[in-house]
Symmetry: C2
Subunit: 425 residues, 2 copies
């Protein structure tokens, strides 16, 4: 099981680690797209930020995990190229919301231009800039408001700018997502923290949503990538809000190395400590993303235990969390065990699930509704009270081995339909 509380939590999000400044700004990308304005308007005060800048004090070892959707956002292509060109390093991140810069013809050119603007301001090469975009797909991204935002973003950079940045990357998110921990490597106190966005179009397969994580723990690019890939598999890739996998999913991990520890260049105790910290941060961000799923009233997690191996546990837990019928039952506080069995049964694995036990667990208690694959008569009042809580765990024991995994999701509600029935407006 993932330890969600191993290390002490700290404030600061993407700025928690030493050596990272951030800022956010409202430049009016959506307004510009709608009015076709010429870029001369002043930003509207009080509007939600729509562009963020993160700048590291030093060049950072950097790792990334990206969407596996064949229709890839232009920023994904450009960021991946940049890291390949410079051997896994970066010094800055520029992110906008309001337009995904995808399926629009000139996306790569525009994404490279965004890197160029930041590079020019900072006096670095464009390949040192990570670029990401989120929002509507299939529309041309206007560069005018972004160009205008570079100076104010730069001027606002601050070691406490994390909230401004975390707010800027939100789309249909109702709350910002930040999380950071302190841990020790080689006798040095290290910090690792990050920010995430994502609410709909979230399905596990190679990172999900936009995620930016920074640390001052010194780690080589290679080991950063190893840790990130392993942890993504059991955290972000176990998240599903609606089964749709975004074109722009990006998860970046940057290390400033300013904690002063000897650089982690191989597996061992230091690497394990680093990975545990990364796991705690990413699992908690994943949990926040699930809880803020579009229209969600409940966080629903599925813990699959007794699996023959990790992959099987993940596949089955995800199949349960993804099922629209399970999601509706959780919304309606209906302790339907058939839908859980059904979703396990069509999961894409050969594992025999026909003898599973199924429990519902929440603050209000714990109830066994299915034993060895057979539905039980149970206390409906207790079941209802358990499912009326806003955080519910579906606990499944397959009795087929000792591996386990957790998947995070949410209920399916009227509001999901409402939000997505007219997202563009």
């Amino acid at each position: 099981m993932i330890d969600m509380d191993k290390f002490p939590v700290t404030d600061g999000g993407i700025c928690a680690a030493k050596g990272f400044r951030a800022s956010g700004y409202y430049c009016g990308i959506k307004a510009f797209m709608q009015t076709g304005a010429d870029g001369n308007e002043s930003p509207v005060p009080g509007k939600k930020n729509d562009i963020a800048l993160v700048v590291a004090d030093v060049v950072c070892n950097t790792a990334g995990v990206y969407t596996s959707n064949k229709v890839k956002g232009a920023p994904v292509v450009v960021t991946r190229d940049n890291l390949a060109v410079n051997g896994g390093r970066a010094k800055a991140v520029i992110v906008n919301s309001g337009n995904a810069n995808t399926c629009n013809g000139d996306g790569e050119e525009k994404a490279r231009a965004m890197c160029g603007m930041v590079a020019e301001k900072l006096g670095i090469t464009p390949d040192m800039v990570i670029v990401a975009s989120t929002g509507v797909i299939g529309q041309v991204l206007p560069l005018e408001p972004i160009q205008k935002a570079i100076d104010p973003l730069y001027d606002a950079l601050s070691y406490t700018g994390n909230v401004e940045a975390a707010t800027a990357i939100m789309t249909t998110d109702t709350v910002k997502k930040e999380y950071a921990v302190k841990f020790t490597v080689g006798g040095k106190e290290c910090t690792l923290g990050g920010m995430a966005k994502g609410s709909g179009m979230i399905h596990p397969n190679m990172a999900t949503t936009l995620n930016f994580i920074s640390t001052d723990c010194a780690v080589s690019s290679e080991m950063l990538q190893k840790a990130l890939s392993q942890v993504v598999k059991i955290t972000y890739n176990c998240l599903s809000v609606d089964g749709d996998q975004s074109t722009n999913d990006t998860c970046m991990l940057m290390s400033s190395g300013l904690a002063g520890n000897a650089e982690i260049t191989s597996e061992g105790a230091d690497f394990d400590a680093f990975k545990a910290a990364l796991t705690q941060v990413m699992a908690n961000l994943t949990r926040m993303l699930a809880k803020d799923g579009e229209g969600a009233t409940k966080l629903v997690t599925c813990v699959c235990t007794g699996a023959p191996d990790l992959d099987t546990a993940i596949i089955i837990a995800k199949s349960v969390i993804r099922s629209p019928l399970v999601k509706c039952a959780m919304y309606g506080a209906d302790a339907n065990c058939g839908r859980i069995m059904c979703a396990m049964g069509y999961a894409d694995t050969d594992c025999d699930v026909t003898e599973a036990d199924v429990y519902y667990i929440s603050k209000a208690g714990r109830i066994l509704v299915c034993e060895k694959g057979l539905g039980l008569k149970f206390d409906e009042d207790l079941a209802k009270s358990i499912l009326e809580e806003d955080e519910i765990e579906i606990f499944v024991d397959l009795h087929r081995g000792s591996a386990d995994a957790t998947a995070w999701g949410c209920d399916l509600t009227y509001d999901y339909v409402k939000i997505n029935g007219d997202y563009r407006s």
Copy 2:
């Protein structure tokens, strides 16, 4: 493309072909489960039928396709066994709604008992009876009301009993589904027709929902199975209401042979004619199932053309139809092309979809919203009027070959959530 109107349509559903009688009856399975009554109550007049019987005048060559869910309903197991035992023959069908007889421990025993009751009444062996159940999973099926129903079902058998039977198999369906055609094989007029049920928990993978089809065209069991498997692939398996795949999906095809044609025992012109009739019936039943999807206000079909092969066309069309975000956009009449591109991009195929054209088509017109993978500026008013119709086609051309496929689905609405938030009550 599938010809949905090739042959003339006729009335009669499952009784349209020569040699099939049917009946339906309300025996109170759900009421019995809720009150734990002792089976002595009289059936309630005016309640929807919950049990159906179909009896053929002669032993029929029979083929079946069943769910691929690893958690299989007991009736699926028993029916498959029966056909295996007797070499693909059957004389009767017994089906109940209100309880899926799945995940309850004694399901197989109960399903065999249902076959036994019918067999005893008809003076045949139990393996000549097809059994199916639909409804809640994980609850014990009471046999008392079913036993009481056998006599009235038998007494009511009629060559015009198709509507009584089609009504009995409905669960959350709002309309009964029947369809039949007349066609010619070897100079003889043949008829093929059927009934289907299914509204939620519908996802393509080996038949979907409950489907019973009868014909008087003489066809060997082997060729029946061949035709059924081929046609299921491009019809029922291209249907998705919610992405959940039922434990009880069953599609049965019975041939009485009473049309008088020489039995079809190999491929050729006769087999092709038979398959075309079967395709028309199953495609139209599929369309009805999609249109009556739980909470649906719109039938949404995706036609994928320009694919390198049939499998690719099917996978991509189904991915689009299954996407919750596409379904919400259709509900909201939002001509969002990004969600279509996104859903094609994460479809489980290697095919390059990045240069696809995407059109929306309805009675109100036709509009190109994405060309060679790039979102277009389009007439929003026209797009809105097209998407406000109750039957919408998403037409996609991949420009990668000449294969095509159609997938059928519906929009995702508040009512889907409402229906499934408390299905058991």
